[in-house]
């Protein structure tokens, strides 16, 4: 494990190496201890200003980033596209350059277009953290997912992970595939064939069409949300049919003769990918993921800011 990141922006898991990921985990473990203290704030980033640019709706990620920034004592400005000059026709790089000229040190970017953060990193001189770009990557989500699994399983090397659901539209799926593979896990995807990318095998990932078989194979089931907002056409006959075939419910879990870990990045479509009895049974690690999200984002911003 090195003592600094090999990158100066966090654009995707694709650009990180295993040593970077372990450094982020190690730092996040220390921050997790900090945020469980009575006084949860540290002064590390007190002279850093961070802009949260959210061009797309977000609850968890936005709150998590903002909380992480405040815990690190950074100055924070929030921007959402609905109440901005984007509606007047300003381009992305113009908007960001204007914000940066107000002496902002780091930009957290959520954008509906795949590659938006890479485009920005190529065109402006600032530190960029990708908080989700279209169907491309969502690196901090993948880091917090793998950090949570690492805590539960002590390591991911050799573990079997099934990612279930809308792989085609999911940035979490792609980032998770990268991070799980880099940490040595075996990954399969499961879901309706219409929601599986054609060249998924090129990522070193197998496709398993049957959820019951997939569950019997895996140590971890990573359930994804069906991204209705990104679908321009119907990819499966009905939500009821999807839930029956690919939704995880108590019945399917009871058939298993082993314990598996269930993750979900949120927000959940209750009754579609996960049934309410599974969510409320306490058998998932969804809330651990949310808690770890703050620590992971603190670690990412701390490590990137130290390179500024």
């Amino acid at each position: 494990m090195g003592n600094k990141l090999s990158v100066s922006n966090l654009l995707g898991i694709k650009y990180l190496n295993e040593s970077d990921i372990n450094l982020i985990f190690e730092t996040a473990r220390n921050f997790k201890e900090v945020i469980n203290r009575k006084i949860k704030k540290v002064p590390s980033l007190r002279d850093i200003t961070i802009a949260n640019l959210f061009f797309e709706d977000s609850t968890r990620t936005k709150i998590s980033f903002e909380l992480a920034q405040k815990r690190l004592s950074a100055d924070v400005i929030n921007f959402s596209s609905s109440s901005s000059s984007i509606s007047k026709g300003e381009t992305l790089s113009d908007t960001v350059n204007n914000i940066l000229s107000m002496k902002v040190d780091m930009v957290i970017l959520r954008h509906p277009s795949p590659g938006a953060s890479v485009f920005l990193a190529n065109n402006i001189d600032s530190c960029i953290v990708n908080a989700g770009d279209g169907c491309h990557e969502h690196p901090t989500q993948a880091l917090l997912d793998s950090f949570t699994l690492n805590e539960k399983l002590s390591q991911l090397n050799g573990k079997k992970i099934i990612i279930v659901g809308d792989i085609l539209h999911s940035r979490v799926a792609l980032s998770n595939i990268f991070v799980f593979k880099k940490l040595g896990a075996e990954v399969k995807v499961c879901g309706p064939k219409s929601l599986i990318p054609k060249f998924i095998k090129n990522l070193g990932v197998d496709y398993e069409p049957n959820l019951e078989k997939a569950l019997n194979w895996c140590d971890v089931a990573s359930m994804l949300r069906v991204q209705n907002e990104r679908m321009s056409q119907s990819y499966f006959p009905s939500t009821r049919e999807y839930a029956k075939e690919y939704g995880l419910d108590k019945e399917k879990l009871l058939k298993l003769d082993k314990k598996i870990i269930i993750t979900h990045p949120g927000p959940i479509n209750r009754g579609v990918e996960l049934s309410s009895d599974v969510i409320d049974s306490g058998k998932t690690v969804i809330l651990d993921q949310v808690e770890n999200g703050v620590a992971i984002r603190m670690a990412v911003m701390y490590l990137l800011a130290s390179r500024l």
């Binding site: 003592n3 201890e33 900090v34 009575k38 006084i39 701390y302």
Partner: protein, 186 residues
């Protein structure tokens, strides 16, 4: 003429004497440690604080001394100013320090900035009634801040290019203290 500036300033036998003395001084002031806790500053104060605790137990029969380790990385004032990234160590303080006397332990007191960061970090665990500082080595005349140790093993006068390295058998193979020129071996 060349002068060898890498030299051993304390050996194992002298260190043993010093540690015994420091433990005695702590015992004199804190008696049974019922209202006092020991906190080693990570990373280099950890071993020293463990040694002091075990000496208090062996030499004076004190039991149940509370010992914690405090990492100060996130509270340092040189974030982003040094070229190297500051990597954190584990903090483990599983007791309350509210209204307790805290003895902070570190191996070398140099500019006083680590101790200042430790005082800030300590506040996140409560409000101690009193904080004392124990340093094995006090590099007097090098302070940037008005910090002085309450218990001091040995005072060293060194120029700014020199570094003091405390070595422990457990991690470095020998109990000793060296004075050396920065970027020059040892």
């Amino acid at each position: 003429m060349s002068v060898d500036l890498n030299r051993k300033i304390l050996d194992a036998s002298k260190l043993t004497l010093i540690l015994d003395r420091l433990a005695s001084q702590l015992f004199e002031n804190h008696n049974d440690f019922s209202n006092t806790v020991i906190i080693g500053i990570q990373p280099r104060g950890k071993i020293l604080s463990k040694k002091i605790k075990s000496l208090l137990e062996i030499n004076f029969g004190i039991k149940n001394i509370k010992l914690g380790f405090l990492d100060i990385t996130f509270f340092r004032d040189d974030f982003g100013r040094e070229k190297k990234v500051l990597n954190a160590n584990k903090t483990s303080i599983d007791f309350i320090i509210e209204n307790k006397t805290v003895v902070l332990i570190d191996d070398v007191l140099y500019t006083g900035r680590s101790v200042t960061a430790a005082l800030s970090a300590l506040q996140t665990f409560g409000r101690p009634s009193k904080v004392e500082l124990l340093s094995l080595i006090d590099r007097r005349f090098s302070r940037h801040l008005p910090i002085q140790p309450d218990y001091c093993g040995s005072q060293v006068d060194a120029i700014n290019d020199q570094r003091v390295m405390v070595k422990w058998k457990e991690t470095d193979g020998e109990d000793s203290v060296y004075l050396y020129i920065k970027n020059n071996g040892k």
